[in-house]
């Protein structure tokens, strides 16, 4: 039984630790940490910041889910970064080129994105399964290469359209867009709903389907899974491709809800944020959502720090500290918990079992 401590304590500890450490950094640089934190929280209630935060969190959430699917199987899909960008440019080109009735248009774009993301993830998956190439190093290479692919594709010679100083894909017509939900002074991405559905589907898949069980079993112990009839190579391939498919959707909220075009200047690094968010949320869909919100909050509210002459990068530092300390905290708590659990079982069964000579069991 995993107690509440195991789940809640580590992230809380990590956040507190990060806040303290950043406070020290702030003091050293001559700023008042209380004022800084106060400004950040206050920013939440100004203008459209709250809505922006949720919008950004939607993106992070999808990325976190994509990473979490790999994590379930002990696969490090560092390649979410490359997969989502590849999918975004392909989907943007397809969406801009097509003329279809509403809904259908959107649907086609989303399917293209999922397939493109999955295809880009299939490269490291196949290399790993057939050639034994580490997925970490392969995805790192593919993450870099995607920059070249995007530059190549949105070149004016290929599919690019020049708009002022920016070059990007052809704009997607309104029939392909996902309408937003006006809220206060901002507009909430309609994609929030889709992201929530995907989160629920992820939870359902993991906890209620055979496939989810097999995925978790392979991640926990390949040998036990093999003895239980689970083909580890097949699971690796499926998990990676599935992860890539979800990664394909990462850029969609912004593409279909705000930008309608994808260019070389479109935001990067969502994939790496996904890793952090998945770690923070411990691969649980609810946890990932909280992690994504926290991350997005730090990003959007940090801008306000400029008003009081504090560098907004303090938020990035906090994020880095949080990731590192949350994994440390999980590890420490996990160890303490297992020991406690063994003691508890030992106690519950009394001295009986400990007086029996068994030998060899350890």
């Amino acid at each position: 039984m995993t107690s509440w401590r195991t789940k809640v304590l580590p992230p809380l500890l990590a956040i507190v630790f990060a806040v303290l450490l950043s406070a020290i950094a702030l003091i050293i640089s001559g700023a008042d940490p209380l004022e800084a934190y106060g400004t950040m929280i206050g920013q939440m209630f100004k203008g459209s910041t709250a809505v922006d935060t949720v919008n950004l969190a939607t993106v992070y959430y999808l990325s976190g889910l994509a990473v979490a699917i790999g994590f379930q199987m002990n696969l490090f899909n560092i390649g979410v970064e490359g997969q989502y960008r590849f999918a975004a440019v392909i989907a943007a080109i397809a969406g801009g080129a097509l003329q279809l009735p509403p809904v259908l248009h959107t649907l086609v774009i989303l399917i293209v994105a999922v397939v493109a993301g999955a295809a880009y993830a299939a490269i490291p998956a196949i290399l790993k399964v057939t050639r034994g190439v580490s997925e970490v190093i392969a995805t790192i290479m593919l993450n870099s290469i995607v920059g070249g692919i995007i530059a190549f594709l949105i070149n004016a010679d290929q599919f690019g359209v020049q708009r002022g100083n920016n070059i990007g894909t052809r704009e997607i017509t309104p029939s392909g867009r996902i309408p937003g939900i006006p809220l206060g002074s901002g507009t909430l991405f309609g994609f929030v709903v889709i992201a929530a559905i995907i989160g629920a589907a992820y939870w359902f898949m993991l906890n209620r389907t055979r496939f989810g069980f097999e995925l978790k079993a392979s991640g926990e112990s390949t040998t036990a899974a093999a003895a239980g009839g689970v083909n580890a190579k097949k699971m690796t391939l499926i998990a990676m491709v599935l992860s890539g498919g979800v990664a394909g959707l990462v850029a969609m909220p912004e593409l279909l809800g705000r930008d309608y075009t994808y260019g070389i200047t479109s935001t990067q690094m969502y994939g790496f944020t996904g890793i952090a968010v998945a770690l923070l949320g411990r691969n649980h869909p609810g946890g990932i959502a909280l992690g994504a919100l926290l991350w997005a909050f730090l990003d959007t509210s940090a801008v306000s720090l400029e008003q009081i002459n504090v560098s907004k990068e303090i938020a990035t530092i906090m994020q880095g500290i949080i990731v590192l300390s949350v994994v440390v905290a999980y590890e420490v708590v996990r160890r303490a918990d297992l020991a406690a659990e063994q003691r508890r079982v030992g106690r519950a069964l009394g001295a009986k079992s400990s007086s029996v000579a068994g030998g060899g069991a350890v």
Binding site: I137, I145, F152, G320
Partner: protein, 425 residues
């Protein structure tokens, strides 16, 4: 009664194979020389046949050297970490820290202080990685990714704090002093003359060599010397032996009295220091920018790839760094046309390999080689130039192909990336 039990060897231990694998007895340095000769022969031939002189010009060579340096230093950093059993994806972050440290130190105290600051900043990143992975047993990849995030954040923060008032731009440092360069002028001039004579082969070699001896900074020399030094320390001293044993079999090492934790910490400090130096080589060399946000541009990862490419050996990673640096330098100095000419060189190289494989009666490998050469030649033949957007990623494509082809033949340290806790076996 004679002993009649003949239980089979334990299938779990890898030592059950009576097969005696005969390894080639070519010493490492000789193999390096052979490869260098092959490489120069291939580019000279390609240069001659395609008429693209940029392939072997001294300009290309010196640019390549400058671009190879950060990759080389990161690869060395990766070598030290992984030989001690720690996978270091965080090289990129440590390198970013190094760039800031170099600019800051150099601005206030001159280049040598800059170099020192870069090393210290990188080593701090390494220390953090060691705390996470060694003491707390955090997954090495997770910790590395976090360090990359953190390195970026800390650097941006510090740049904002320190550089913005000076340069007026938070993304950039003020102009900082650079290392002076030195030329072996007599040699350089003589080689320059040879290069101009346009004689097949000789001029090519002269061009490459001239690029390597002209306007060389002390940092460049230090970096190159660090390759044999790393080899010597890791393979010829008792400290190196102990360090490597931590990456091969930490349980055995600990049982023999090696303090595995301490060696891993030291290895990570050195690793981070090298990565920091790699950062310094971006900032403190002439021809490079001052501190600039995102200037590392994934070179830490490429360094790691160069190390894997070099099979976790100093000589090999030097080759890997040279290849990646050359690919980059060529593209800067000669553009898409030159890279296309390099493709021609690749066809020649594959053809040589095919002949070798035929000689060894490896029919399938030879067949695949022919196919690969055919495709490459087709690309070469049907294009005048390669898409300029994709050329910067030559090194990445090469890495993927090499991994796909040779992954099974690589020999990483046995316990690389595996968690180790004292007293648990």
């Amino acid at each position: 009664m004679a002993v009649t039990d003949i239980s089979r060897p334990d299938p779990g231990s890898s030592g059950t194979m009576p097969v005696h694998r005969k390894r080639s007895r070519v010493p490492g340095w000789l193999r390096g020389v052979i490869w260098a000769v092959i490489a120069i022969a291939v580019v000279s031939t390609a240069s001659y046949s395609t008429g693209v002189s940029a392939l072997t010009s001294s300009n290309t060579a010196s640019t390549a050297l400058r671009l190879a340096l950060p990759i080389l230093l990161c690869a060395l950093g990766g070598l030290w970490a992984e030989r001690a059993g720690v996978v270091n994806i965080g090289l990129e972050g440590m390198m970013i820290l190094g760039t800031w440290g170099a600019a800051w130190g150099s601005y206030y105290g001159g280049v040598w202080v800059g170099l020192l600051a870069a090393i210290v900043f990188g080593a701090l990143g390494g220390l953090l990685h060691a705390v996470a992975t060694v003491t707390f047993n955090v997954n090495h990849i997770v910790s590395g990714v976090a360090i990359n995030l953190l390195g970026l954040g800390v650097t941006k923060y510090l740049a904002n704090l320190i550089f913005e008032p000076l340069s007026g731009n938070p993304r950039q440092s003020p102009v900082v002093p650079k290392f002076d360069t030195y030329s072996a002028s007599f040699l350089s001039d003589w080689l320059g003359d040879l290069e101009k004579e346009q004689r097949v082969g000789i001029s090519d070699v002269a061009g490459i060599l001239r690029g390597l001896v002209t306007e060389v900074a002390p940092l460049t020399m230090i970096a190159i010397i660090l390759v044999p030094v790393s080899f010597w320390v890791l393979w010829r001293t008792r400290f190196g032996l102990r360090l490597r044993s931590c990456g091969e079999n930490p349980v055995a090492a600990e049982s023999l009295g090696v303090n595995v934790y301490r060696h891993k910490y030291v290895a990570m400090l050195i690793s981070g220091g090298f990565a920091g130096m790699g950062g310094a080589s971006l900032v403190l060399l002439r021809g490079g920018a001052d501190y600039l946000e995102n200037q590392t541009n994934g070179r830490g990862y490429i360094g790691l790839a160069a190390m894997i490419f070099g099979n976790w050996r100093p000589g090999g990673l030097l080759g890997g760094a040279a290849l990646f640096g050359y690919a980059d330098g060529l593209q800067l100095a000669g553009g898409g046309e030159a890279v296309l000419a390099l493709l021609y060189g690749a066809v020649i190289l594959v053809a040589v390999i095919v002949v070798v494989q035929l000689f060894r009666r490896q029919w399938i490998a030879a067949g695949l080689g022919v196919l690969g050469a055919g495709i490459l030649y087709l690309i070469y033949w049907s294009n005048d130039t390669l898409p300029s957007d994709l050329i910067p990623y030559t090194a990445h494509f090469v890495t993927l192909i090499v991994l796909a082809v040779a992954s099974q033949r690589l020999r990483p340290p046995k316990a690389d990336g595996q968690p180790y806790r004292r007293g648990e076996d």
